[in-house]
Amino acid sequence: MLSIKGLHAFYGRAHILQGVSLEAHAGEVVALLGRNGAGKSTALKAIMGLVPPAQGEVSFDGRRIERLPPYRIARLGLGYVPEERRIFTDLTVMENLEVGRQAKRGAASAWTEDRLFALFPNLAGMRDRPGGRMSGGEQQMLTIARTLMGNPRCVLLDEPSEGLAPIIVEQMAHSIRTLKGEGLSVLLCEQNLHFSQAVADRAYIIEKGQIRFGGTMAELAADSSLREQYLSV
């Protein structure tokens, strides 16, 4: 579904991604793990076209997308949920969802506000609340819901568990599993190994802009030296 080969990207002059290759198959949840500054967020931004890739291939559904502007990539069915949530603070919950709305594609049933409120019940009671007056957890749910309004077939999730209360993290994990059940692919960046183990089928480890490990979650769980070397703080 999503396949990246030899991706390079720069921030100004800093060479952040130095040949990243990874894949996410249909209906699969894949975690991209790594420490702060390893290049996780930049990888997602480069896939989405928000940081223009300098070199390498990004294919989505067999189509090359590395030269497309972000909105075209989004319209192909690749959703992006940013790290800092980036809720439109002046807009209400309903309006935030409206901005994310795109035509439904493929056979899957389209997301509607009501289906999203079923997935994130907390949001249902605050339809007219401005995004700026929501808690961090509520904003995190809204940002995912907003992206789902575009009816993506694959979602890039940047640190969905960051800065959330444990109970909300639990809910988030449940939501991601629900998305997987709907047949969506998910590629998520995480520092939280525990959270990743709860949701992901496979994992990659990135360090200094390069992929150091790729395998199943079980393989990663079995290899403590790997975790020690690349993930422990």
Binding site: L50, P70, Y80, P82, F88, E95, N96, E98, V99, T147
Partner: protein
Amino acid sequence: MTFASILIQLLNGLAAAASLFLVSAGLSLIFGVTRIVNFAHGSLYMLGLYGAYTLIQALGRTPLGFWSAVVLAALLVGIAGVLIEVLVLRRIYRAPELFQLLATFAVVLVIKDIALFTWGAEDLVGPRAPGLSMAVEILGKRIPAYDLLLIAIGPVVLGVLWLLLTRTRWGALVRAATQDREMVGALGVDQARLFTSVFFVGSVLAGLGGALQIPREPANLDLDLAVIADAFVITVVGGLGSIGGAFLAAIIIGVAKAFCIGIGTVSWFGFEISFSKLTLVVEFLIMALVLVARPYGLLGKPQALQRLTTDPAPPLTAPSWKIALVWVVLLLGVPLLADRYITIMLTDIVCFALFAVSLHFIMGPAGMVSFGHAAYFGLGAYAAGLLFKRAGLPMEAALLLAPLCAGAFAVVYGWFCVRLSGVYLAMLTLAFAQISWSVVFQWDSLTGGSNGVFGIWPSAWLADKTTYYYLALACCGAGIAILWRVLFSPFGAVLRAGRDSPLRAEAIGIDLRGFQWAAFVLVGALAGLAGSVYAFSKGSISPSTISIGQSTDGLIMVLLGGVETLTGPVVGAAVYTWVRDAVARHTEFWRAVMGGIILLIVLLFPQGLVGGLKALFLRWKEQRA
């Protein structure tokens, strides 16, 4: 004043407010979404007025003809706005914001000449609105029925805009993009189309504002800059991006202006106060007051930081001594070979070079963009002229005291300006320049009003054009050298730190405002020196040395040369002064030619001339390596 006459002035003011509101709402909308300060917005208003004039002639002076002409003119202006967006601005959305500003200046020049070519230089007086040319009697005073209609149109447009913004998907997209346009793009919204639609709506509003004025004011070629100044003031007073704020501000300013005209001259405690003379200043006074009390305008909020797609400014590199020496020798040698014409032109260039370098100092390294830098240039010129003519000082003393006077004004203006940042700061500098301009323009007994001051000639030993050129070179060269040297001193480093991160600069114990204030004064004094040298080289001065036109000339010079390089402003001043002169000698339409050249440069060299050439040179070197 009787109650009736107060009411009449109130109605007058409200009628004037309608058009002001329409223009400002459009400007605010466009700025919010695209972050472009569209200097051409006043030009669009002007086109609306001219367009309505012509269309009414074509469609006939019937109510149907009149109103179709007004609507059609507004729509055509909307299409003109779309053309500007698609042909020019869309190509440079990733360029630095100031460069987009330069592009809109170029559009101002081009539109002015298109209007000159199409409609001629004479003012065109439009017809009264058919069916509404009568007056309505209120409390024994007569008020034009058309004015009452205008008073109603303002709130109607406000209501329609409010519905559009809060009840439609387009409105949600516009408000979302105002906060975070990159995110809107990542959600699958085509930014280019959204921007184009916003430009269309904003331009229609400007065009409508202009077209509706056709029965009230003649179409003329000076409207573009006059209206943009009004619109800036209103958007800033109301709060950038707030349509309701623009409405409120338009009413306050429209009414204040009407009262100033209506009150006329009053004597209080034996003092004669002429309120009608205040008309030109009152809106800027209101703006200065509002910004000091509420730095984000009446209904504005602190600006959301748009995510920057451009890189931060690179470190400055000092010009090399060897190259500088070559230039000094060349400049000293030129008059020996060149004729009188070139010597005079070089004197102009030298003055404008110091003017541009001082502007660059404040807007580049110090990070405070000034839209009103002509204030200090012009005040320096006037100080020189008045000290010489009115105070009877010797020329040399006047020449050297003038910069101090300009600096003294910078002390006052700067104190207010450093309290603001970004677009608000730029607008406040514009306000001070306009206040200075209107005082100079109206104080006939001291400044000679619109005629200016004549007979300001240098002393006998400097009378020769070549000698004066050397004097100008010495004064302005010293000014430029001081400014460049200061940039590399600890003071300059503090300013640059304050530009890159004001919070961090203050957190390490720097009194940033104090330093910025000092920079303001230094720059004001040296711009004043440029003006003073310029005044004596011309022998006369007119209010145009303080005008918005002079300020934008300075901005064009700096941006043309490239704001990220040190020598850019000098090159920009030279190229702009020389090309303008060369083109103006061949065609009446020099503005269009200049505008075309600037647009080409903007599209080809988004880092300015010097920056662009540098980049080309680097690429060439890399290819050879």
